[in-house]
Symmetry: C2
Subunit: 256 residues, 2 copies
Amino acid sequence: MAGTDKERIMIAEGPAIVLVEPQMGENIGMVARAMANFGLSELRLVNPRDGWPSTKARATASGAAHVIDCARVFATLEEAIGDLKLVLATTAREREMFKPVYGPREAAGKLREAFAAGISCGVLFGRERWGLKNEEVALAQAIITFPVNPGFASLNLAQAALLLSYEWMSAEAGDRPTFSAPMPEPASNRDLVGLMEHLESALDATNYFHPPEKREKMVLNLRNILAKANLGEPEVRTLRGVIASLERRWLRESKA
Amino acid sequence: MAGTDKERIMIAEGPAIVLVEPQMGENIGMVARAMANFGLSELRLVNPRDGWPSTKARATASGAAHVIDCARVFATLEEAIGDLKLVLATTAREREMFKPVYGPREAAGKLREAFAAGISCGVLFGRERWGLKNEEVALAQAIITFPVNPGFASLNLAQAALLLSYEWMSAEAGDRPTFSAPMPEPASNRDLVGLMEHLESALDATNYFHPPEKREKMVLNLRNILAKANLGEPEVRTLRGVIASLERRWLRESKA
């Protein structure tokens, strides 16, 4: 489902998100939305409590219809992940299993690496109330857990899926914003000095530099303020207009 | 509000989250919850549409009462951020302003740096429907935008606050999981070779290595499988028990 222009391309790839016995349709929908936000599309449901399809899921998916429409339902976890070659299990609790534990960023890196190598992969999320069973975690190659406030660790299903999906996209795109600052053409040093001198001459005319022996230091201060402001060429023009306008007022008033 | 033990310490510090004219109490509550999950606590509300306090906000905050209770309400944005020295504005749209644009990770780094230096800081989030006005963004030192799927960019208020809060915590803690894998005491090479030899002698007894000229290569294969499995000392013991058990069955059957 590609958009109408290059910048609106719909990204829909990556690891399967596997929800094990999700309880509320609303949460399934919010997971689908989070997945779509960050370019994931393959949703697998193991034995959803309230059945499937779900109108509540569709409502909270908020337009991520491509994820909801393609979601597949399985009777058991074993069937749901039968074709996957790298399976990571999310859990908030320590499991006393001799198995690697990744944060979401490291996990996303592992998933990107596998995905790039053509290795089918997936991430397991457990029931809203009590997560994954130990025998479900035992089927995974590694564990993902989220760094949360130890005193308030109530991350819900949709939030956990959002963070994993976000890290999946960040692992590819980095922290690059979707748009960059429209930075102005930087001012040349000649432009900058022109501004400084314009300001100084205007201030000379109003006797700003008083007493005269302080002029040198005051000029340095002003020049430092202007130099460190990283002014663009149009911004220098704007400021020269400002000074000229103030000068005109002063000239008008001095004529009156 | 520290917990009962060291591991449950409640983290509650960091930049203020400033919601400008939030419309739904539910969303304010979900923002409070996301903040608490990642150690933020100072919530400021500019002119919330449905008034304050809000029972809906308290319900969706899901236990983040310390954030809701301490939230402060302001009539204008200028009052809400009057004391702040570094203000970042979140926006999904390009604004044609000559101002730095950060992704959430870079923004979190800037906020951590300022916070560590004792500089009061805050992050602005706009209305659910249409975000911040240009004149509101103009009060901020820089812009934060989130890297999303260009074809599906419907990040909501609570999701955006969650990602920013998550990056705030990650900027301090890194990607370190809240618990680490309980890795077993690694097996010594002597233990490993003991396992290999035990397996090989058991297989010799069952004529597994057939034909004999292939024995050397088959042994190498098995030894590589065991060597790369990173076995721990207790795992080696487990596997030796497995082999011994299989041997006993064979011995029993060969006696019968």
